[in-house]
Symmetry: C2
Subunit: 435 residues, 2 copies
């Protein structure tokens, strides 16, 4: 099965907005095993829409539209596509009542224009929209070629796709589909090489997407029903858990900080942060999770040496002899924050985010991280150079959150991290931290 | 003049990457007064490329390509487009030497494949690439219809556009162009309404783009030479400065924190932050600016009441009687941070970022901000509801940075902000802050 994506809208042609719908629809169609050979953006102009549809439907089984369902007289896409597929439109009283109720609820009267939005196909079907006023529509000609039109706002389009269109297409391409996304710490090329044939598998499929400091692996399985598809999806996911071990930090979560907050909650732990080069980024990420006030109370941004001494009790001697960017300083920052905040786990970062400030011994991108509990401290050297300041900071925050995750989950220290017990730390005035 | 944008690449058709090049090129073409009626994405397939080019060049004067200039045998776009425009390719020794030198510099031998990248048009011209290995190419047929091909990586495409393509097109469409982008605090619909006819002006043009907590107004002027275009651009920009006053915080900067760091540097001031609901976001934004260590040393994330008392000296009585989300607490946080960090200006935020925690009196989105200097404290009530947690936090950070900007620049307090002198604050145990 082949498809083309057609986004309708002047704001896309002017570059006012980014076409995120095309990316979403492309990923979804690929996961369904449907080949997308063309994407288009055009304005809401009847002649140009008709020209494009007549060309595209000759070569592709399915056309997926985003946008063009607005209420004004200019919005001609729905009528035009209907005609191309030998269909026409009729007023749907139920949809009209829904739109009128929406206006009533927000204290307004429905403009007459909006009746247009309640028009649905005579032969085809409507796609219910529980997230806005305009229903989607589905046309199908006598040769079985189809077109589906969805509204442009991304939250409406994605919800209607998931609820209304995806099940329809999954049924046509055989059975139903289930997807899950694994979140894996590591670089794309390494994970992809190690995954090898898993990424070539046909059903279930697995696709890898590179993100900052992690990758997402999206697994999609076909099944006779949802339960079956889900079971096949999870069985295939097990291959990745076996292969990557605890580098897989979670599945179907927005980001690492959500997993960290969940694990801290489960353990009944409170965390704190002591940040130099990341300047508050770790605290910002953790507190962006709703409900994080249960597990986070104090954060320290100690950008200057004076702040490291005054707020965290880092020794002036250590700062003078080892420097602010050193394993000793990172460890003292974490231990100091743990005490100052009376927390269960503290994470600290100190490094050179660039672009200035690097030396041959301590280049841009060198970051020392430390995570302390009442039992000891882990120290991790990070070499994050070659990109920009923002990227270095984001990857450092990712490593820091990983240390907290591992401590909260009772996992071992990662390979690039050395663990010291509190007696070891206390045994030496000059801290015993290896370079 | 009309144009179409054609992005070539399987990774776009699969949804692996977002088509940011199409947005950039659309904005640029619009600024040049060139109408874009179609955007396309296709794979690197000679037959499909030829079919599309032959259709598109019938209706549009210019085709702008991104991608398809890779070194492998599959990359056929350049040859295919050359043939459509009655041109062919020849080896450019200078480009070949550049590519070989690039490989030598990175300690590798150039694969034979890469010779392809040094092929340039016989009749047309090359577009120099100082940012990667593949030059761009420009074809033109006997009817004056043109195609320009640029590499896919966004940093190469944008630089080559600005340096090589934009001047060529500006000359064709008459003279040269200059753009500048004003950054204005405020909402799009309000600014657009107040701007009125300025946004309908033909030359210079002005386009407004909504961002979080601010808008960008991009002004583009045509001129006989760059100096002339720049002068016309700046003269037109003056209308917006006159209209919006000090809501225009800067021009051609990455973000508000860059302006704040520059102003603090100019004044020789050090700032500090005391953050509750934003959890470190203001500190993170400021420290993301290279060189911010000159103006930022300490930041406090005081998420819990205990942290507000312990680190900032907020009175337990105020927290008990007025609550953590109150003008009194915000002011005490700012004054406490100012003292604890021995800073020249301190900014504090305390509010309800949601989704939980709201009450009828203190709904989600209510945030109190305060900015203190040794002379007094400004208190600002922000009502930021209706969106998500992240959006509320980002807009709160924007208001906070605006307070610091105004204090550092010696501007008056904004209308929604009340200013108190230190004697006023000290005159009353129960702080005199109005609701």
């Amino acid at each position: 099965m082949t498809a083309e994506i057609i986004a309708v809208g002047t704001e896309l042609l002017l570059g006012d907005i980014l076409n995120t719908n095309a990316q979403f629809l492309s990923q979804e169609l690929a996961a369904l095993g449907i080949d997308v050979l063309h994407q288009h953006v055009i304005g809401d102009n009847a002649a140009r829409v008709a020209e494009l549809v007549n060309t595209a439907k000759q070569r592709s089984d399915l056309l997926v539209f985003s946008g063009g369902l607005g209420p004004t007289a200019d919005d001609l896409t729905k009528e035009t596509v209907a005609a191309c597929y030998g269909d026409s439109l009729t007023l749907d009283e139920e949809e009209l009542a829904k739109i009128e109720a929406f206006y009533l609820r927000t204290g307004r009267t429905m403009p007459d224009n909006n009746r247009k939005q309640a028009m649905v196909p005579v032969k085809g079907r409507k796609i219910v929209n529980d997230h806005g006023t305009a229903p989607g529509v589905w046309f199908e000609d006598e040769q079985g070629r189809c077109a589906v039109l969805l509204p442009g706002p991304p939250h409406e389009l994605t919800a209607m796709w998931n609820e209304g269109v995806r099940p329809l297409l999954a049924a046509r391409t055989g059975g139903t589909l289930h997807s899950l996304t694994l979140h894996v710490l590591g670089g794309e090329s390494d994970l992809e090489t190690r995954g090898g044939a898993l990424f070539q598998h046909e059903d279930p499929t697995a696709a890898i997407y590179a993100k900052v400091g992690e990758c997402h692996i999206r697994i999609t399985a076909r099944g006779e029903n949802d339960e079956d598809a889900k079971a096949r999806c999870e069985a295939f996911a097990q291959n990745f858990y076996d292969l990557y071990g605890d580098a897989v930090y979670d599945a179907d979560v927005p980001a690492l900080e959500y997993t960290v907050v969940r694990l801290l909650n489960e353990r009944g732990w409170v965390m704190t942060t002591a940040e130099s080069c990341t300047g508050g980024l770790v605290a910002e990420r953790v507190t962006n999770v709703a409900g994080s006030s249960e597990v986070f109370r104090f954060g320290f941004v100690t950008y200057a040496n004076e702040a490291k001494e005054k707020l965290l009790g880092v020794s002036a001697h250590t700062l003078a002899t080892e420097g602010a960017v050193s394993p000793e300083t990172a460890a003292q920052m974490a231990l100091g924050a743990l005490r100052a905040a009376d927390a269960d786990v503290a994470v600290a970062l100190t490094g050179i985010a660039g672009p200035g400030g690097g030396t041959p011994e301590k280049p841009v991108g060198l970051v020392w991280g430390a995570a302390a509990t009442r039992d000891g401290v882990w120290v991790r050297k990070m070499t994050l150079g070659r990109r920009d300041r923002d990227n270095i900071r984001r990857r450092a925050s990712q490593h820091a959150l990983d240390l907290v995750r591992r401590l909260a989950a009772g996992l071992p220290a990662p390979e690039d991290t050395t663990a010291y017990t509190i007696p070891q730390v206390e045994a030496s005035r000059t801290a015993p931290f290896a370079r």
